[in-house]
Symmetry: C2
Subunit: 309 residues, 2 copies
């Protein structure tokens, strides 16, 4: 068993942090570590929360943490901001949450940063979720900002994705366009004390009916975080969706598809690592005027011939 995983089993929170840094940095050892992590999973609930900036996700997550803690369950939050790849990944909401839950050992909060590509960020987020699971957190929440392709990729890891909207924000059409509707397992109308709730709910109902979703009926939950309203129902719906995934044939099928995609993605990443190492070791030269298509073919063929493959 990998040393970091052993340390995590002894509740060493620094080992958890180090394991996440390892996947962030795409360390060559990580696959072995992650296999041990996978074997040590305790089947935490994976929840994704996404929505536009200003939808009140941070406050909602904050309330949800408190609610889950009142049930004596522990929570890890992975906060991802794919829109600012170079900022180091610290979300504004972090500090607020940190203040409230700082002294609580049952809460772990971590921001994820990209080192390079968006694909890398989605990959590292998935790994981090499983690391938190293996450590022993009962619930792992992935919070992302924005509603683009990156969120689609990141949300592939979670069991249940909640899309947070606010009345009159005009988000819905943008979100519909971006394909986020298709990955939302439930909708949360936050700030439900504002005007326009009925209209938004009606629109969402229509969109759900139009979409090609499976038999699981996408619930619509109303929350008012300032008054702590609706959080209990939100949590109940998350658990109901989890039961659907793990106790129905359709849910199993969905999980299998997700798994296939992930395995292929991991293979692709491994290939990349091999080729890069090979090209560096053999001191390949690539000139500005080269035909890149031909050069790529040549290097690949050479790699195959020389036993790289």
């Amino acid at each position: 068993m990998h040393q970091l995983v052993e340390q995590m089993k002894r509740n060493d929170i620094r080992a958890l942090a180090r394991a996440i840094t390892m996947v962030e940095n795409d360390h060559p050892e990580k696959l072995d570590m992650l296999s041990d992590v996978f074997a040590s999973k305790k089947h935490a609930r994976y929840v994704g929360i996404t929505g536009s900036p200003g939808a009140g996700k941070s406050s909602l997550v904050n309330r949800l943490i408190t609610h889950i803690r009142n049930e004596s369950k522990t929570v890890a939050v992975i906060a991802v901001d794919p829109t600012s790849p170079f900022s180091g990944g610290a979300l504004l909401g972090d500090r607020v949450r940190m203040n409230e839950h700082f002294t609580d050992d049952g809460v772990y909060i971590r921001s994820m940063a990209t080192r390079g590509s968006l694909g890398g960020l989605a990959r590292a987020t998935k790994d981090a979720v499983r690391i938190c699971d293996a450590y022993g957190f009962d619930v792992v929440i992935v919070e992302t900002v924005g509603v683009g392709q990156s969120e689609l990729d990141i949300m592939k890891i979670v069991d249940t994705t909640a899309l947070v909207l606010t009345p009159n924000s005009g988000d819905v059409l943008q979100i519909f366009k971006a394909g986020i509707m298709e990955i939302a397992d439930m909708f949360v109308i936050n700030k439900a004390d504002l005007d326009g709730v009925g209209k938004l709910k009606g629109l969402l109902k229509e969109l759900v009916m139009m979409s090609s979703k499976d038999a699981h009926k996408t619930p619509i939950v109303k929350t008012i975080t300032t008054e702590n309203k609706g959080i209990d129902i939100f949590w109940k719906k998350i658990n109901e969706h989890h039961d659907y995934l793990y106790n129905t044939e359709e849910g199993h099928k969905r999980r299998k598809q997700q798994q296939e995609l992930e395995v292929y993605e991991l293979i692709r990443e491994e290939i990349w690592r091999d080729v890069r190492a090979y090209a560096e070791n053999t001191d390949m030269t690539i000139e500005a005027e080269d035909d890149p298509y031909k050069r790529a073919k040549d290097i690949y063929n050479q790699w195959k011939k020389e036993g790289g493959g």
Copy 2:
């Protein structure tokens, strides 16, 4: 020589459209076709234009097309919207431009759509630019919406990237955060008849000084598209930057680095295609409960062993 490339040499515009569709769909034959495309390139000028929605990019591109056409040069425009992967990639501005330049054989406009991943979109855009070059267009403009990681990837193909900003839009800090500053070869302050131009220009100057850019001084150009002002200077600066790239040692170094990255990317894609085909042919099963890390390693190693590599 690939049939489509031959047809393009005879000015068959449908062959051009078909070649772009081929790279969009990631057709297995594409590398051979693209090598012929690469060999047929006529060294068009590659210009990237990016910026937030509402910065007036479409109008600016429209004016630039007219300006370039007045110099008796031909123009192709590749319009990419990475924020709406599922919309089919038709940009709103397209129809406007189409109306104005519809009957002009010297202008070709094409929207690019993702088939799956963002990485695929960036890849296909690069290929499409070269296809337009091989066809014989003097200038190829890549226009993207938004200022995220996707734009960084897409803009790796072009020689010159112009970032379009408007006074008082508050874009600058977001853009700085997203790392777009680093890829901008020039700034365009559009709608320069609005208040706040001086302030934005001052801020940009400071950011240029702060940034770790090379000796090429990033120009700041002011345009008012409604009055057709500044377009001539914009075009002049694009040409100056092109000269810098192709006639200085530093410019050459930059092109070489870009080329290396692209070759690596192409290799990865080729291997991926091979492994996927192998996995499908050997009927590999991946179950929902599998350890994805271990399964990925197993499949990849088996592919390497059985002569895939």
